[in-house]
């Protein structure tokens, strides 16, 4: 009798293991986990592509973690080192889709533990000089006027975003000058990479050589600007796709971060 029961038990174990291993070989849908901060807008996910694994924030910045997964049960959030994210996540049990207000105290790797389909996000700190020293962090987005002075006069309403990014090895400051930052698919945009020796001495941003077939190599743009009490002010020079050279100045005001109010933490 005992042998029969044991045999039945082992058979059940083998059967379940067999079925589970069939199901486990199914291809996974992707889990997403990202950070919304002054630096990382939600629309960045579309502007910079879906494989957007890194999030950056100023030290002590209040940011929002957002995630979604197809897994249904036992989804948990954790951070390493745990003390760099507050409130501490500590394998916090969460819904399959949601968002959570957090304060970033240091670099951390955040994990969305969703069974076989985990999501990962590296959160890094933006250099302090881009966050402090002014009444606002330099990273973020700006709105204002571009005054073209040559070859003809023109006044253009534009958006500028200054974003701390990473190429996987090192961090750098990127800029986007665009007709409308909030509708990225339908705007004319220039992508630039910025250099600065110190925040007070100013910033220099240039378009980079690219292999992107959609980008005309003839098109160039260079911005030189400094930070004032409510935004950035500077000059620019460039060349159009047809080779027309142009120049002008711009004055843009810092905008508050969209979306404004993250959803409060759920128990």
């Amino acid at each position: 009798m005992l042998e029969k029961t044991a045999r039945l038990f082992y058979l059940t174990v083998v059967g379940l293991a067999g079925l589970a291993s069939i199901v486990a070989t199914s291809p996974p849908p992707p889990a997403t986990l990202y950070l919304i901060s002054e630096n990382n807008f939600e629309t960045d996910r579309y502007r910079y592509g879906y494989r957007y694994f890194d999030g950056f924030a100023c030290r002590d910045e209040k940011a929002t973690l957002k995630w979604s997964t197809y897994e249904e049960d036992n989804i948990r959030l954790s951070a390493k080192p745990a003390e760099n994210i507050t409130p501490q996540l500590q394998n916090k049990r969460v819904e399959r889709e949601g968002e959570l207000a957090v304060t970033i105290l240091g670099d951390a790797e955040i994990t969305l533990d969703a069974g076989n389909n985990d999501g990962y996000l590296n959160v890094g700190l933006i250099p302090d000089e881009l966050c402090t020293g002014h009444s606002f962090p330099v990273v973020g987005w700006y709105k204002g006027l571009v005054q073209q002075t040559s070859p003809t006069q023109a006044t253009l309403e534009r958006h500028l975003s200054l974003v701390w990014r990473s190429d996987g090895k090192t961090g750098f400051l990127g800029a986007q000058l665009t007709t409308n930052l909030l509708t990225p698919n339908y705007s004319e945009t220039s992508d630039l990479i910025c250099n600065y020796e110190s925040v007070t001495s100013g910033f220099s941003c240039k378009t980079q050589a690219t292999t992107d077939v959609d980008v005309n190599p003839a098109e160039t743009l260079e911005l030189e600007f400094g930070v004032n009490e409510d935004g950035v002010v500077g000059t620019y020079t460039g060349q159009t796709a047809l080779g027309l050279e142009y120049r002008g100045s711009f004055n843009m005001q810092k905008q508050s971060d969209p979306p404004e109010s993250p959803t409060p933490e759920t128990p």
């Binding site: 045999r7 082992y10 058979l11 083998v14 059967g15 293991a17 067999g18 079925l19 291993s21 069939i22 199901v23 486990a24 070989t25 199914s26 291809p27 996974p28 849908p29 197809y70 076989n116 389909n117 985990d118 571009v146 073209q148 070859p151 003809t152 023109a154 253009l156 534009r158 000058l177 665009t178 007709t179 004319e188 945009t189 220039s190 077939v213 959609d214 005309n216 003839a218 098109e219 743009l221 620019y236 460039g238 159009t240 796709a241 047809l242 080779g243 027309l244 142009y246 002008g248 711009f250």
Partner: protein, 405 residues
């Protein structure tokens, strides 16, 4: 007992081999996230049965394990192997789109059926796994002598295996489980147009014909009327993919056939005489020249223009179009043109005025002895720029084939 242990070990080794596939496969192709997955072993991953190996090893291993637990008598061995053959085959069948109602199943099963891809070869792999497991069990469990009647005891399992293999073959032909029909496509390229199934030419004119099909079996090309095309296309057999340069002497329809089945057809059509004759030369083709900008400041820019006649497209009537490449830009402006034969003039505009960085572009041309000349205007818009420009244009007709932009 020792025999059971050996069989269990063999099963676990087989499972390890099956799991190895997920290490070698590109990362992210299964729910099992193994560190180091995505190992590059091209020799293995390009094997046609590589993706079916897990099905084989799974049924083989679990048949052995189940038999080890149930006991190594002939009936129990058969039960183990047959059960895993049925389970493996049902899980494979459930991935077919015919059974999409299974996507609502709980416990991750629905997701498994939804995300999986039905492959009859997996059923064949399950069958082979079950039969091989039975043979291993049969010879290691002392049943090799056969049953009481002296008949070989593996006759029945071999029957399931053959049934499984036959099923996988039949499933590919069964109308309930549609599989890929032969298909093919033809494209005509006049060097100034994008490849398409219709090409308007001013005969005689050179046209490149390209074709591709999922099957090279009895694939043939035919043109009607045959004499409109040089060389003659009267049913010659061709490879699955290829291209050929033709001279179109007149209008013709070219057909790609697989046996007697027409896979696709393409038409060479005659453009109107307003573009073929009225200017003294065929307007269609490639031109090269310069844009002499006068506003906002004098500048000279090289330009290339390709004229072609476009087929009707949705609400758009057929008509003359031009692709204008300015300053060796990789992407051209697409212009819609109208021809006035009486005074040999052409007016072109960019139809989608806000589609690109160059907006409201228009061009007015008049026929000359060896090409076209006229004026242009437009504006450039960008993230930090808004400039209106205007100037004069001179274009010479190119006799030789233009280089691909």
């Amino acid at each position: 007992m020792r025999r059971t242990l050996y069989i269990s070990c063999l099963a676990l080794i087989s499972l390890a081999f099956g799991s190895l596939v997920y290490f070698i496969r590109p990362a992210g192709s299964s729910l099992i996230h193994l560190s180091g997955s995505g190992l590059n072993v091209p020799l293995l991953t390009t094997l046609p049965v590589f993706d079916n190996l897990p099905s084989f090893f799974h049924v083989f291993a679990f048949s052995l394990l189940s038999a080890a637990v149930l006991g190594l008598t002939r009936n129990r061995v058969q039960l183990s192997c047959f059960s895993w053959l049925v389970i493996g085959s049902l899980f494979e069948l459930g991935q077919h789109e015919r059974f999409s109602s299974l996507h609502a199943l709980p416990l991750g099963l629905g997701g498994y059926f939804e995300r999986g891809t039905f492959d009859p070869r997996d059923i064949a792999a399950c069958s082979l796994g079950a039969v091989l497991a039975y043979l291993v069990l049969f010879y290691t469990s002392g049943n090799a002598k056969g049953n009481a009647r002296g008949r070989p005891a593996f006759k029945r399992p071999l029957t399931w295996g053959l049934t499984g293999l036959a099923s996988s073959v039949l499933l590919t032909a069964c109308p309930f489980f549609p599989v890929e029909e032969p298909y093919g496509s033809l494209e005509l390229n006049t060097s100034t147009t994008y490849p398409y199934r219709e090409a308007y030419v001013c005969p005689p004119s050179r046209v490149e014909l390209s074709w591709s099909s999922n099957s090279a079996r009895n694939l043939r090309l035919r043109s009607e009327p045959a004499e409109s095309i040089d060389p003659l296309l009267n049913g010659q057999e061709v490879e699955a993919n290829g291209n050929i340069n033709l001279e179109a002497k007149s209008a013709a329809v070219i057909t790609l056939l697989s046996g007697q089945t027409e896979l696709d057809s393409a038409a060479i059509l005659k453009a109107p005489s307003s573009v073929c004759k009225d200017f003294g030369f065929s307007l269609l083709g490639a031109y090269e020249g310069t844009l002499e900008q006068t506003v906002p400041e004098p500048t000279s820019r090289p330009a290339r223009m390709d004229f072609y006649w476009e087929s009707p497209y949705y609400d758009e009537p057929p008509g003359l179009r031009a692709l204008l490449y300015i300053n060796k830009q990789p992407s051209p402006l697409t212009l819609k043109c109208s021809v006035k034969s009486a005074d040999k003039t052409i007016d072109c505009i960019e139809p989608d005025a806000e589609a690109d960085v160059i907006e409201n572009f228009s061009l007015s041309l008049v026929g000359t002895e060896n090409g076209l000349s006229g004026s242009y205007e437009g504006s450039e818009r960008g993230a930090a720029v808004a400039i209106d420009f205007a100037g004069n244009v001179t274009m010479r007709k190119q006799e030789s084939e233009p280089s691909t932009p």
